[in-house]
C-alpha cells in the first residue's frame, strides 16, 4: 500500500462512483420518462385533433339530417311542434309556422295563441286535448310505468312507445278547423305523443300537424258519390226487378202460348196424318192427269201443313230444353233418295228442276256413306230447306249438293234460283217467326222452319247460314255438321219389287193395333199394296188376345190406345207362353222421340215406324224386321 493512503479517501471515491452510477441511472430514467411523456403527448394531441374532426363531421351530419327532416316535413305536408312541459315553451318547425299562418314564429310560450286561429266550435275540444296530453306527460314524468290517463274519446293507448319502450302513449288523433290570418278555413289533423328523452331529463309533447283540407274534401266528395251511386244502384236494382218480373210474366205467357199451340198442333196432327196417309192410297195410275195434279197439290199442301205442325211442337220442345237427338246408323244414299224423292215430284209440278250432287267440296275428301245420325231430325232439315226453296222459286232449278269439307265434317247446300235474300236480312231468317215479308212473293207461313233448323243444327254441333247464289239470282242455304262415319251395318238389299214375302215365300200376316179408324184404313191399304195380309184391332187388349192365338208375322202397335196401351200390350205379348211371345213388334209413333219410344222399346218392341205411314219407309222397316233374327227382343 502506498504511503499516505487514506482509507477515507478511498471510501469517498467509492461513494462518488456509486453516486455517479445512481445519477447516471436516474438520468437515463429521466430521459426515458421524457421520451415516453413526449410520445404520450403526441398521441394525445393526435387524439384531440381526431376528436375535433369527428365533432365537426357529426355536426355537419346533424345539420344535414335536420335539413332533410325539415324538407321531409315540407314534402309530406307535415309540421311539428315540440312542447316542453316544464319550461312551457314550444318549438314550431318552419312548415308548422306556414300551416298556422305564423311565419317567423319559431317559439311560442303559451298554447292559448291557437285560440284566435281556431274555429269557435273547436276551441274547447282543442284545449281539452292539450290538457289531456300535458296531464299525461306529467303523470308519466312522475311515474314512467303508470297507466296513462285514458283518452276522453275512448281511443286505446298503444302498448309501448317505440322510443322509450316502457312509456305508454295514446295515439289519438284530433282534427281542428283553423283560419290562419283570418283567411280561408283549413282542416288540420293533430297527433300528439308524450316523449321523455332518456338523456335529457325533460318531458316533451311531440305534436305533428298535417293539413288535411284536401283529403277531407275528397272524402266528402267520395261519400257524396258513394251515396249517389248507392241510390243509382238501388234504382237499377228496382228496375231490374221490375224487368225481371215483366220478363218472367212474358215468358210464362209465351210458354203458355207455346203449350197451347203445341197441344193444338198435336190434336190437328192426328187427323192430318190420316189425310196424308189416305192420299197415299190413291193409285196414281188410275187417275186422269188433272186428278193426278190435284192430288199432288193436296199431297204437297198436306206435307207442308204437317211440317208446320211439327215445327210448332218442336219450338215448344226447344224452348223447354227438351229437344234431343237419337243417333242411329243411317245410309246417306237411301236417306237422300227417300227425302228428296218426294220434293222432286212437288218441284216438278211447279216446273222446277231439282238435282242432287254428291261430291267432295274439298278435293281429296272421301265421300262417306254410313253415318250415325238422327234420321228424323235430318229429314226435318232437308224437308224445311227444300220446301222453302220450292216455295220461293218461281222458275229455274234447285240444286242440292252434299259432301265432306273436312274429315268428320259434312256440308249440305240447297241452291235455288229464287227471289234471293238481301244480305242485311239474312240473319233474321233464323230467328223464331222470322219469315221475310217480301212483296208479292211466296206463300206466307209461320216462319218457324229455319228457326227450328237452327236449333237442331246447333244441337248437332253444326252451323247454318245463307249466302247469295254465286251463279245468279237466288240463295244458297247451307248447313255444316260434324259427322260420325261408321262401317256399313248388315242390311237387306232393297228388293226389286215392293211386295214383301216371308222367308218361306208366303204372304206376311201383319196385325195392326190402332184406335184411330182412318189410320187403320191407311195401314190396311198400304200394307195390302206391299203384299201383306192385314188384321186390325182397336186396342192393346185385343192385340194381346190375337197375338196369343198365333200365326202373326209382325205386330204394328200404336202406343196410345184406349183399354190397354201399346206399351202394356207389348209387355203382355212378351210374357205369353210359347212361341207367340217372340212375334216381332214395331211401334207406331207420330214423333219418333226417344222419350216417347223408350218405354215401348223397353217393354219389348224391336223398332218403330213413323206416322203418317210412308210407304217407302214402312217397306224397308218391315223388310228388315222379317229377316230371321232381326228382332233380338222377340
Amino acid at each position: 500500500m502506498a504511503a499516505g493512503f487514506d482509507p477515507r479517501i478511498a471510501n469517498l471515491e467509492a461513494e462518488i462512483e456509486l453516486l455517479s452510477r445512481r445519477l447516471a441511472r436516474a438520468e437515463r430514467a429521466r430521459s426515458e420518462a421524457e421520451a415516453l411523456l413526449e410520445d404520450k403527448s403526441r398521441v394525445l394531441a393526435n387524439a384531440n385533433r381526431e376528436l375535433r374532426a369527428n365533432r365537426e363531421l357529426l355536426r355537419g351530419q346533424l345539420d344535414q339530417r335536420t335539413r332533410q327532416l325539415l324538407d321531409a316535413q315540407r314534402v309530406a305536408g307535415f309540421g311539428t311542434m315540440v312542447w316542453d312541459v316544464e319550461r312551457k315553451v314550444g318549438e314550431l318547425s318552419p312548415h308548422a309556422q306556414a300551416l298556422l299562418g305564423m311565419p317567423g314564429v319559431d317559439e311560442i310560450d303559451t298554447l292559448s295563441i291557437f285560440d284566435h286561429l281556431t274555429h269557435p266550435d273547436d276551441r274547447q275540444p282543442l284545449r281539452d286535448y292539450a290538457t289531456l296530453m300535458i296531464r299525461r306527460a306529467v303523470a308519466l314524468r312522475a311515474n314512467p310505468l303508470a297507466e296513462a290517463p285514458a283518452c276522453p274519446r275512448g281511443h286505446a293507448a298503444t302498448e309501448h312507445c317505440a322510443t322509450c319502450r316502457d312509456r305508454r302513449q295514446c295515439d289519438d288523433m284530433f282534427e281542428v278547423r283553423i283560419q290562419p290570418g283570418g283567411g280561408v278555413e283549413r282542416n288540420l289533423r293533430l297527433k300528439a305523443q308524450v316523449h321523455i328523452p332518456a338523456n335529457l331529463g325533460k318531458v316533451l309533447v311531440f305534436l305533428t300537424i298535417q293539413d288535411v283540407t284536401a283529403e277531407l274534401a275528397a272524402a266528402r266528395e267520395a261519400e257524396r258519390l258513394r251515396l249517389q251511386d248507392q241510390q243509382r244502384l238501388a234504382d237499377l236494382e228496382a228496375l231490374t226487378r221490375d224487368l225481371e218480373q215483366a220478363r218472367q210474366a212474358a215468358e210464362q205467357a209465351n210458354a203458355a202460348k207455346s203449350r197451347f199451340l203445341a197441344m193444338m198442333s198435336h190434336d190437328i196432327r192426328t187427323p192430318m196424318n190420316g189425310v196424308i196417309g189416305m192420299l197415299q192410297l190413291f193409285d196414281d195410275a188410275g187417275l186422269t192427269e188433272d186428278q193426278r195434279r190435284t192430288i199432288s197439290h193436296v199431297r204437297a199442301s198436306s206435307e207442308q201443313l204437317r211440317m208446320l205442325l211439327d215445327d210448332i211442337i218442336d219450338l215448344e220442345r226447344a224452348e223447354s230444353g227438351k229437344l234431343t237427338l237419337n243417333p242411329q246408323p243411317l245410309g246417306l244414299s237411301e236417306f237422300l233418295h227417300d227425302a228428296i224423292g218426294f220434293w222432286q215430284k212437288v218441284a216438278a209440278e211447279k216446273g222446277l228442276e231439282m238435282t242432287l250432287e254428291r261430291a267432295a267440296f274439298i278435293p281429296g275428301q272421301k265421300l262417306v256413306e254410313w253415318v250415325l245420325a238422327d234420321r228424323y231430325r235430318l229429314r226435318q232439315l232437308v224437308d224445311n230447306m227444300l220446301s222453302n226453296a220450292i216455295k220461293y222459286t218461281r222458275a229455274g232449278s234447285i240444286r242440292i249438293r252434299m259432301g265432306n269439307i273436312a274429315p268428320g265434317r259434312a256440308r249440305y247446300e240447297v241452291i235455288d234460283t229464287g227471289i234471293g235474300i238481301p244480305e242485311a236480312r239474312r240473319r233474321e231468317l233464323f230467328e223464331d217467326f222470322g219469315q221475310l215479308r217480301m212483296d208479292g212473293v211466296g206463300e206466307g207461313g209461320a216462319g218457324l222452319g229455319l228457326a227450328i233448323c237452327r236449333r237442331i243444327v246447333e244441337l248437332m254441333g253444326g252451323t247454318i247460314g245463307v249466302d247469295g247464289n254465286e251463279d245468279g239470282p237466288g240463295s244458297r242455304f247451307w248447313i255444316e255438321l260434324p259427322i260420325t262415319h261408321i262401317p256399313p251395318p248388315q242390311q237387306p238389299s232393297r228388293p226389286a219389287s215392293l211386295l214383301l214375302t216371308r222367308p218361306d215365300g208366303g204372304r206376311p200376316r201383319i196385325l195392326v193395333a190402332e184406335d184411330f179408324e182412318t189410320n187403320r184404313i191407311v195401314a190396311r191399304g198400304l200394307l195390302g199394296r206391299l203384299g201383306c195380309d192385314v188384321e186390325l184391332v182397336n186396342d192393346g187388349e185385343a192385340a194381346v188376345d190375337r197375338a196369343a192365338i198365333g200365326g202373326i208375322d209382325l205386330v204394328l202397335m200404336d202406343i196410345s190406345m184406349p183399354v190397354m196401351s201399346g206399351i202394356e200390350a207389348t209387355r203382355q205379348i212378351r210374357a205369353l207362353p210359347g212361341p207367340e211371345a217372340t212375334v216381332p213388334i214395331l211401334a207406331l209413333s207420330a214423333y219418333s222421340r226417344p222419350e216417347e219410344l223408350e218405354p215401348i222399346l223397353t217393354a219389348g218392341a224391336c223398332g218403330h215406324v213413323g206416322k203418317p205411314i210412308r210407304i217407302e219407309e214402312q217397306h224397308m222397316a218391315i223388310a228388315r224386321i222379317l229377316l230371321p233374327g232381326a228382332c233380338p227382343d222377340a
Binding site: 452510477r21 437515463r28 420518462a33
Partner: protein, 180 residues
C-alpha cells in the same frame, strides 16, 4: 409490469438497506438497462425477479420475507404517490374490499396496457376474504401490501390476517382478515 414496481424496489433497498446494496443488486442482476427504471415505463417482470434474487444472495434472507417486506413498504408509498385513491378511508376492511373494483380500475385508466392481478374481495360472515391470482409470482408482495394497508389505517392491533397455506405457489394466495 409497470415501472413503478421496479423504481420503488430500488428506492426501498436504498432506503431500508443502503444505496450500495441497491447498486450491488442492480449490478449483480445484469439488467439490460442497468437499473434505470422510470415509473411511467413498463418492463419485463423477470428483471424484478432477477433483482430480488440478487437481494436474497446479498442479504441471505428468504425471498418470501423480502417480498413481504417490500409489499409492506410499498403500501405506504402508494398512499404517498396516489393520495386521491386513499382519501376518505379510515377502515382497512373497506379499503381492502375496494382494492379490486376501485383501485385496479384506476390503474387500468392510467395505464390501459397494464395487466393487473385478479383480486377478488368477498365478505364471508364477519370476515373479509381476499383472493389473489396473477401470472407473476408476487403473492408475497400482495401479502405485505395487505399488512401495509392495515398499518396505514392504524388498525394493526384490531385485525388478524391469516394466509391460507393450502393455496400453493407464489402465483396465487388467499388472505382472511378478521377482527382481533
Amino acid at each position: 409490469m409497470k415501472g413503478v414496481i421496479f423504481s420503488e424496489m430500488i428506492r426501498w433497498v436504498e432506503e431500508c438497506l443502503s444505496p450500495a446494496v441497491a447498486d450491488r443488486m442492480i449490478t449483480g442482476a445484469n439488467l439490460p438497462n442497468e437499473g434505470s427504471y422510470t415509473s411511467v415505463g413498463s418492463y419485463p417482470h423477470q428483471e424484478a425477479l432477477a433483482m430480488m434474487g440478487q437481494l436474497v444472495e446479498i442479504t441471505g434472507r428468504p425471498a418470501h420475507d423480502l417480498c413481504h417486506d417490500y409489499g409492506y413498504w410499498l403500501a405506504t408509498r402508494f398512499v404517498q404517490l396516489y393520495p386521491q385513491m386513499f382519501n376518505g378511508y379510515t377502515d382497512a376492511l373497506t379499503l381492502l374490499r375496494d382494492i379490486d373494483n376501485k383501485h385496479n380500475t384506476e390503474v387500468v385508466k392510467l395505464y390501459p396496457d397494464a395487466r393487473t392481478p385478479a383480486i377478488i374481495a368477498s365478505v364471508d360472515g364477519e370476515d373479509l376474504v381476499i383472493s389473489y391470482a396473477s401470472h407473476r409470482p408476487f403473492a408475497d408482495v400482495a401479502w405485505g401490501l395487505v399488512h401495509g394497508y392495515i398499518a396505514y389505517c392504524g388498525q394493526t392491533a384490531q385485525y388478524i390476517v391469516t394466509r391460507d397455506e393450502t393455496t400453493p405457489g407464489p402465483h396465487a394466495a388467499r388472505f382472511v382478515i378478521n377482527r382481533a
